[in-house]
Symmetry: C2
Subunit: 153 residues, 2 copies
DNA sequence: AACTCAATGTCAGGACTTTGACATAGCTGA
DNA sequence: TCAGCTATGTCAAAGTCCTGACATTGAGTT
């Protein structure tokens, strides 16, 4: 049931499912689902994959850095890092040389695992991007960035 | 640490934080955080608010309907519905007249609570939308819709 | 040197969500 | 009719994530 009950041209913006927030949630959910499905075959969760990707880009990030970058709390980030460490995909010095931050680095296996999943993950993103005209992509990225910045301040 | 390490014009698309998926996640996280903060003051969670909004738009939706519309499992949807029911914001017939689906409806208090939070929530969305040129909004909505549809199929 | 402060890592507890499974209700086609 | 199929609601168990709290470290200030 409930297929397309709407069709009321009264106030178009009154339909919550047409709001930016809802579309954002819907798109994010679709992407998350697709990534979950693919990553599971490789024994990785989405936060784990994100962490590997970030460490490849910025070696030596700390747990707090990674937590901020993946939009989770430090506590959750710590769990992710411990999981990756147990699988031998990253290394962290047992003791911090400066402050308390312990910089994380990808291991050989970590690099290999990341490389193994990147093709599949990028294919998903490609499928998503191809749904819109190519010349609009840059604008879309800029707009998303602006909207996020407006709420973060 | 880690403020702006990048600045490598090698392959712009190689920076994961510039990918559509990452921007999507970031924007969604910012919105979710802002909504969480506001809704908490009114004793509602984001899924609870979304459910109230959907029931106002489409009275009589079942648990399965709502779960699909809010992008959670039926099990989670059931928890949300039970919470709302305990607070007296919605009603569900104890027995289904047709099939197993039990249509949910807002109570007077449910309508009142929804009305009380809508201003605050819409203000957040407004702040987000104002960050981009007004004439781009329609295109943005259409593009998000296309991207989501491409992954759902 | 002593104090204050922010940042980091971590522990304990709880809240939320998911996976997996099962029984029931209605529809569809042989 | 009846056997399959789908959809729905629900239970149990597990996983994930967050809130709240605390100790430690380094920088800035007095």
């Amino acid at each position: 049931m409930l297929e397309n009950v709407s069709a009321e041209p009264s106030h178009p913006t009154k339909d919550v499912t047409q709001h930016v927030g809802y579309l954002l949630k819907r798109t994010q959910a679709a992407l998350r689902g697709a990534m979950d499905k693919v990553l599971r075959e490789h024994g990785l969760t989405v936060p784990q994959y994100a962490t590997l990707e970030l460490l490849a880009l910025h070696p030596g990030m700390s747990n707090a850095d990674l937590a901020r970058a993946t939009f989770v709390t430090r506590q959750s980030g710590n769990v992710v890092l411990r999981g990756l460490q147990e699988e031998g995909l990253i290394t962290r010095p047992a003791t911090a040389d400066h402050g308390r931050a312990r910089p994380a680095h990808l291991t050989e296996e970590g690099n290999a695992r990341l490389a193994a999943v990147q093709a599949a993950v990028y294919a998903i993103e490609q499928r998503m991007v191809e749904a819109i005209p190519a010349q609009r992509l840059a604008v879309l990225l800029a707009d998303l960035d602006r909207m996020a910045a407006a709420l973060e301040e």
